[in-house]
Amino acid sequence: MKTLIKNLLKKELILLFCSMLFVQGIIAQNEITVQGKVISANDGSAIPFTSILVKGTTIGTEADIDGNFSLNAPSNAILQISFLGFKSVEVPINGQTNLTISLEEDLAALDEVVVVGYGSQLRKDLTGAISTVKSEEIQKRQVTTIAEGLQGLVTGVKVRGGGRPGQEANIEIRGLKNLQNANPLYVIDGLITTANRDFNPNDIESIQVLKDASAAAIYGSRAANGVIIITTKQGKQGPLQIAVSAKTSVTSMPRYNLMETDEFAKFQFQAYDNGNRERPKLNLNVNTDWQDEVFDTGLIRDYNVSFAGGGENSSYFMSGNYFGNKGTVVSTEFDRISFRVNTSGKKGIFSIGQNLAISNSVTDEMSGAPIIDVYRLFPTIPVYDDRNPGGYGYGEQGVANTFGTNPLALADFNDTENKNFRIRGNLWSELEFRPWLTYRFNFGYNSSFDTHKNLRKLGNWTLNQPYDNSSTFQNKGRYELILIENTLNFKKEFGNHNVTALVGQTYQSDFYEQIWGQKRGLLINPGTGEYYDVLDSGSEPQVGGFREESSLISYLARLEYNYDDRYLLNAVIRRDGSSRFSDDHKWSNFPSVSLGWRISNESFFNVEAISDLKFRASYGELGSGNIGPYESQGFINTFGAIVLGNSQDLYPSATQVRLSNPNLTWERLKQTNIGIDLGLFDNSLTLAADYFIARTEDVLFGFPLLLTTGNDGGNPIANAATIENRGFEFDLSYRKSYGDFSFNTSLNFTKLNNKLISLGNNQNDTFSGNTKTEAGQPVGMWYVLQTDGLFQSQQEILDYKSSDGSVIMPNAQPGDIRFKDINDDGEINNEDKEVVSSPWPEFEMGFNFGAEYKNFDFSMNWIASHGATVYNGFRSVVDRFDDDSNYRSGIRPWTPENPNTDFPRIVRGTTLNARGDSDRFLEDGSFIRLKYIGFGYNLPTELMEKIGFSRARLSFSAQNIITFTKYTGLDPEFSNGNIFQRGADIDAFPNLKTYTLGVEFSF
C-alpha cells in the first residue's frame, strides 16, 4: 500500500511539473466587446454575480451587483449564463454588443450544486440518496445545535431534542444501525468534527445529508451513521455587506397536573389506611407548588452580525454571535460567544483559503433530576426549613415520607459549570493544473479546552442523607484533532462521456488529555459565607489524569461517469486503517457502487407531464471503528487499596477488572438503496422516494457478559450483533406561484423496520429496564407483566385460577390489579413477562408549508410520529402509591364506593398494584406537533433605500405550541439516551414552547 501511494504521489509530482511547463493560450478570433445585464424572468430585478462563460472556452466573467457584465468574446460565440437557483441558459451573441438576459428560477433545482464530500455534483447527476436543507430553514428556528434544526425537514432523519440549556439533540439517519452512538459524521468545510453546541448555526450556507452507503462511501469507516456536510458562508464579490440579526425567545415548560395539599392529604391518608399504616403527620398548613418553585420562564437571545465581501480573486466572510439561554429550570444557563473568519484568494492556478471558528461556551449545568423531583416532593413540604442542614425543606420521617430531592437545595449545594473554548477550522489550497485536473491539500484543525468545575457545599437535600463534607472537583481537558488530506480531482468531458475521478489520501489523529483534582473540607469566607472553590483550599487532595490518542489513515478513490445525462455511474472505494484495532484487524476496505438512469432524457421517452424521471440503485459498505482508543487491550486496574495491619494502613492492590476482546474488528454496514426521482409539470411537483436495506454486521457493542465471568467496569466491546433496518421514505413537494403569491409545500414520510438479527457473545437476549432485546426482534421491546382489569370482589379473586386449579393471586383484595398468569403456573412472577409492544414508531412524517405574498411570508413545519409505545415514567411514580410521591390531580382510585374505575386500590406498602414492570404505564406515544410556525415581513425596498439598508426583515415565530397526542407525560417527543430503553420517558427534559421575535437587516 505504501508503495502504491508513493507511486501515486510521484505521478502527482510529474503532473505538477508538466502543468507548470504548459502555457495556456487563447487565440482570439473576431473579438467584440459584449455588454449585458442579467435579470430575473420572474420580476425583472437584476441578478447579481451570475457567472458568464463563453462556451467551449475558459473565457468568462461575473456580473456585478447590479447584474451588469462586460466581456470580450468572438462575435459568433455562445454565452453560458448560470446562477444557483436559476436555470442556466445559453445565449448566442450573433454579433450583438448589448444583451439583456433573463433567467428563470429553477424551481426543481436540478442544477443545484450538491456537496458530496471531496467534491460536488449537480442534483440531476446524483445516484445516491442525498438530501439538502436550506440554511434559512434551520436559521429561522431557535436552535442550539444544527440537529434540532433538521427535525421534520429531511426524510429518514430522526431528531429528538430537549429544552435543557445547552442540550444537544440526538440525531439518527435511517434508523438505529449500531448500538453505540447513532450520531452521524459531521463534516464542516471539509473538517471532520461534531456539530455540537459550540457551533453557530447562523454561519451555515448549506447542509447536505448523505443517507445511503454510496453517497457516504467516500467517508468510509466513519460514515456508517450517515454524513452531514455543512458548508459555511463565504464572501461574494462586491462591496462589504453587513448583515445583522437579533432573535429573542421566551420559553416555557409544560407542566404536570399535580395535587395540592388538600387533595394530596386525602389520597395519602387513604393509601396509608388501606395499608394499615399509621397516617403520616402531614404538615397541612403548607401548600408548596414545586413546579412554581423550580420552573421559570426561560429566555434565549441570539445576536448575530456578519461582514462579507470580496474582489475578483478573493473573498472574506466574518461573523460574530452571542447565544444566551437562561433555562426554564432553576440555576441552568448556556452562553456561547463565537467568531468566524472565512477567506479565500486565487492567483492563477493557485488558490488558497481558510475557515476558522472560535467559540467559548459556558454552561451552568442542571443538577440532579428536577423534572422528577417536582412530583416526588409533597405539596406539604416547605421550600425552606431551618431544622435541616443547609436550611432547605425535604422529606421528614413520619411527616413527609419521601426521598425526593429539593432541586433548589441541590442547585445551591451541588453546582456544576462546564466551559469549552474551541478552535475549529481548516486551511486549504488548490492547484488547478489544467481545467480538468485539480490538486487539493486540506489541513483541518479542531481543538477544545474544556473546564469542568463542581462545587459541593455543606447542606442536605433529601431525607436521611448521609453527612458529606464540602468539596470541589475540577478537571481540565484538551482535545485536538488534526486532519491532513491530499486529493487529486479529474474532470473531463469526452463527447457525451462525462468523467469525474478523485483519488486521495487522508490522515487523522485524535488526542485528548485531562487532569483532575479534588479537595474536601473547603475554606469558607467567614464574612460572606462564600466557599473558596480553588484546589488550594481544603484537605484530602486527590489528583488524576489520563491521555488518549488514536489515528486513522485512509486512501480513497471515486469515479463518476455520466453518459449523455442518461446513464450515471458512481463508484467509490476507500481503505481505512485505525489504531483502535489490534494489528491483524487494523485495515479494511469499503467499496460502493451506484447507478442512475435518467429515463426522461431518453429519446423514446415522451410523456408531456413528466419533466424529469430518474431511477437510482446503489450498494455500498461502510464501516465504523467507533470504540475507545485502547479497547482491544486488557488492562490492570491499579487504583484499589486495602486496609491491613495493626495500624490499619492502606496497601496497594492491582488486578484486571474489565475483560477485553483482542480480536475486535471493524463494524460493517451493508446498505442497498433503490430510489426514484420524479419531476412533474415542469418540475413544480417533485417526488423523491427511496427504499433501503441497511444491514450492520459485527456491530461494536459491549453486551453484558455472563455475570459468572466476574467482569466489571463496563462490558468489553465485542463485534457483538447484526442489526437490520429496512425502510421506505419519500419526499413529495409542490411549488407554485400566481403573480405576487407563491407557495411551496412538502410532505416527507419515513417508515422504518428495525430488527436485531443476532446478538453477541453467543447470547440469546439482553434486558434493560423493562425491555428485552432478542434476536429476530427490534431492539428494546417492551417486556412486562400484563394487566387484566381490577378485581371487583373477593369471589373474583378466588375464581381467578390457573388450569390446575390453584388461586393465582390469593393475597389480592378487591380493587387490586389482575395480572395475567401467562405461563399458567398459578402465580405471578418474572416468568409471566412477555414482549407486548414496540417502542418504535410505525412511521414518522413531516409536513412543511411556506407561502409568500409581496413582502409577507409565512411558513410552518409539522412533524408526526405514529405507533410507538412509550413508558410513562411520570405515571409509574405518581400512580403507584406504595412509595411516596405527589399524585396526579383528579384521579379516582378504586374504593368499594367507587368501583367503576381503571385506577386500582391505592395502598401504601407491598402490593402488586405498584409494580413498575407492567403494561399499566405503557402508552400510545403517537403525536402530531406543530414544530414551527413563523411569519415574516420584509420592509419595502423603497423605504430601505431611503435609510440606506438593502434589506430589513421582521419575524415572529413559535415552536412546539400545538401538539396532538394521547400521551399523558410531559412531552411525547422525548429522548432517552439509552438505546435499549429509547421508549422510556424517565426524566427527559421536554421540548419547550418557544416564542421568538426576530429582526434582521443588512446594508
Binding site: 436521611n464 491532513i484 489523529s509 474536601r520 490492570i636 487504583f639 487499596a641 477485553s660 418474572n830
Partner: protein, 508 residues
C-alpha cells in the same frame, strides 16, 4: 512566487503522507496491560491484595450481603420504602434480575473468584526470592476462593465452579451443592499448610491457619459432617492454633477501638481513608456502608431493622447481678435502651415505634450523631465466641453434650451470665434440648453478625413447614416462605438465559 507556493504545498503534503504511516501503533499511556503485569513479587502481592478489595464492594460485605444474611433471617427485616428491596428480604422474589437483591451479589462473588483465579493462574510462574512468600500468596487466594464459594453455596447452592481466569465467552458448567462443598474443602485444605499461624503486625487481617480451619469447620458443619468439623475446630480451641481468647468488653467486637483483638479469628478490615464510591476508581472506598443502611430513619437509610423478639430474648434471663444481659445494649437500639442502660440513639431520644428496634453492632453512635458510607469499623466475621459455640454444637451432635457445656459457659461468663447448667438444669445431657438452648445462646451472642441464615439452614429449621411456622411467629416474613424453595435464591435469570450450561433451580 507561484512556483514556490506550489512546491511548498506539495512538499508539505508529501511530508505528512510519509511521516504519518507508523502512527497506527498506539498503546495506552494510562495503564499496564495484562501481559505486562504478573511479572514480579510486587505484582503478585498487589494481585492478591485485590481480592481483599472485594470486601469494599456493594454486592459483598460493603452492603448487600447483610440484607441476604441478616435481614432475610428471622433476626432482621426490611421496611424500606423501596418495596423491591424489602421484598428481597421476605421471600417475594419476582424479578430474578433484581440487581440489589440478587444480581449484584452474584456478580461480585464471581468478581472475587476471578481475582482469586488470576492470582492462582499467574503467580506460580513468578520467581520469588522466598518460596514461602509465594506459597502464602497462593494460599490466600485459595482461602478466598473457598470463602466466596462458601457464601455462594449458602445463598444459591448449585453454582458453577470456575477455577480459571475468565474469558468473555465463558459458558461455565453448573455444579451441584455437594461438588461446591468439595471444592471449598479442597481449597481450604490446600491453603492451610501455607498460611502462617500468625501474620506480622503489618499483615494483620490476612487469613491465618486458624481462619482456614474456621472456614473449613463452617463448611463441614453446613454439611453436618460433625467429625471433620470437630477436627477442624480442635485446631482453634485445643490444638496448636489455640491462641484465642474472649475480650473482656463484649462491645470491643463492634467498634473501631479494639480491632483485631484476641477474639478475632477472621476480621474484614475497613478504613475511612478513601471517600470514593464502591467501584474501581482512583479513590475507591475501603469502607463498609452497613451502618448507613441499618441506622434508624432520620439518621441513616433505615433499610434494615431488627426483629423485636430479640429484645424479649435478651430479657428472658437476668445476669449474675440480676441485671439485663448487657449484650442487649451492644446489640440493639430499642425503646427502653435509655431506661435500661442510659444510652441515647445517636444522641437522640427514642422517636421510633414502641415495637421497633435497630441493629447497633457496627453503629458509630459511640462517637458521632450521624452515619455515612464510610464506616471504618472492622467486621468480625468469625469471632472466637462463634467458634466456641460451634465447638459446643459439634460436640453435642457427636453425643458429647456434657463436654459441650464448658464452651457455652465461656461465652456466658463473659456476658456475666451464670453457667448454663445452673440456669437451665432441665437440659442435662439431652442432645435436642441442648441444641435448642444453643440456638438461643447463638442469637444472644451473635445476633446481627451474619451467621443466622447459615444456622437456620444447618439446623434444618427451614426444611419443614412446622418449623417454618414457628419462625413465622417471630418473623411474619416467613409466612411467605415456601419449604423446598426459599432456602436458596433464584439464580439471576440473565445468566440462566444466556448460558446453556446453567439451569434455574427447578422450584423457581
Amino acid at each position: 512566487m507561484k512556483k514556490i507556493s506550489i512546491v511548498l504545498t506539495v512538499v508539505i503534503s508529501l511530508f505528512w503522507t510519509v511521516s504519518c504511516h507508523d502512527d497506527l501503533d498506539l498503546s495506552s499511556p494510562n495503564a499496564l496491560t495484562t501481559d505486562q503485569f504478573w511479572a514480579t513479587e510486587s505484582d503478585a502481592q498487589q494481585g492478591v491484595n485485590s481480592i481483599y478489595a472485594m470486601f469494599y464492594k456493594e454486592g459483598t460485605w460493603a452492603r448487600w450481603m447483610y440484607f441476604r444474611l441478616d435481614l432475610t433471617s428471622d433476626e432482621g427485616y426490611s421496611d424500606s420504602p423501596w418495596i423491591e428491596l424489602a421484598d428481597w428480604t421476605r421471600f417475594n422474589y419476582i424479578n430474578y434480575n433484581f440487581w440489589e437483591g440478587n444480581v449484584n451479589t452474584w456478580r461480585d462473588t464471581y468478581k472475587a473468584i476471578f481475582r482469586c483465579n488470576q492470582v492462582l493462574s499467574n503467580v506460580p510462574d513468578i520467581d520469588f526470592q522466598n518460596e514461602a512468600d509465594k506459597k502464602a500468596i497462593i494460599a490466600q487466594a485459595k482461602f478466598f476462593r473457598a470463602f466466596y464459594y462458601y457464601y455462594a453455596a449458602l445463598l444459591w447452592e448449585d453454582v458453577p465452579i470456575i477455577l480459571e481466569p475468565s474469558d468473555p465467552l465463558d459458558k461455565p458448567q453448573q455444579n451441584t451443592l455437594s461438588e461446591v462443598w468439595v471444592q471449598i474443602e479442597k481449597d481450604l485444605n490446600e491453603a492451610f499448610p501455607d498460611l502462617p499461624l500468625t501474620w506480622g503486625a503489618n499483615d494483620v487481617g490476612r487469613p491465618d491457619k486458624g481462619a482456614a480451619k474456621a472456614m473449613l469447620a463452617k463448611t463441614y458443619m453446613q454439611q453436618r459432617k460433625w467429625d471433620e468439623a470437630k477436627t477442624a475446630l480442635d485446631f482453634l480451641v485445643t490444638g496448636e492454633g489455640a491462641k484465642y481468647s474472649l475480650v473482656d468488653n463484649y462491645k470491643d467486637n463492634f467498634t473501631d477501638i479494639n480491632e483485631n483483638n484476641s477474639e478475632s479469628v477472621f476480621e474484614i478490615q475497613y478504613g475511612d481513608q478513601r471517600k470514593g464510591g464502591t467501584g474501581e476508581s482512583t479513590d475507591a472506598a475501603v469502607s463498609t456502608n452497613r451502618p448507613q443502611f441499618f441506622a434508624p430513619n432520620g439518621i441513616g437509610w433505615s433499610d434494615g431493622r431488627a426483629r423485636f423478639w430479640l429484645v424479649d430474648a435478651f430479657k428472658n434471663e437476668k445476669d449474675k447481678n440480676g441485671g439485663i444481659d448487657s449484650r442487649l445494649r451492644a446489640t440493639l437500639f430499642y425503646p427502653d435502651l435509655y431506661k435500661d442502660f442510659g444510652d441515647k440513639v445517636y444522641n437522640r431520644d427514642w422517636q421510633w415505634g414502641d415495637k421497633e428496634s435497630w441493629f447497633r453492632k457496627g453503629a458509630r453512635d459511640y462517637y458521632r450523631d450521624n452515619e455515612d458510607y464510610f464506616s471504618q469499623v472492622n467486621y468480625r466475621l468469625i469471632r472466637y465466641a462463634d467458634i466456641l459455640l460451634r465447638y459446643a454444637e459439634v460436640l453435642n451432635e457427636q453425643g458429647k453434650t456434657s463436654e459441650a457445656y464448658q464452651y457455652v459457659d465461656m461465652v456466658r461468663e463473659r456476658a456475666n451470665m451464670v453457667p448454663l447448667s445452673i440456669a437451665y438444669p432441665e437440659i442435662g445431657n439431652d442432645k435436642d434440648k441442648f441444641l435448642e438452648r444453643l440456638k438461643i445462646e447463638r442469637v444472644l451472642e451473635l445476633a446481627g453478625e451474619s451467621v443466622r441464615w447459615g444456622d437456620l439452614k444447618r439446623w434444618g429449621d427451614l426444611d419443614n413447614q412446622t418449623k417454618v411456622d414457628k419462625i413465622a411467629e417471630r418473623d411474619p416474613d416467613f409466612n411467605n416462605f415456601i419449604v423446598g424453595k426459599h432456602h436458596r435464591l433464584p439464580i439471576p435469570q440473565v445468566d440462566v438465559e444466556n448460558n446453556p450450561n446453567l439451569n434455574q433451580h427447578p422450584e423457581y
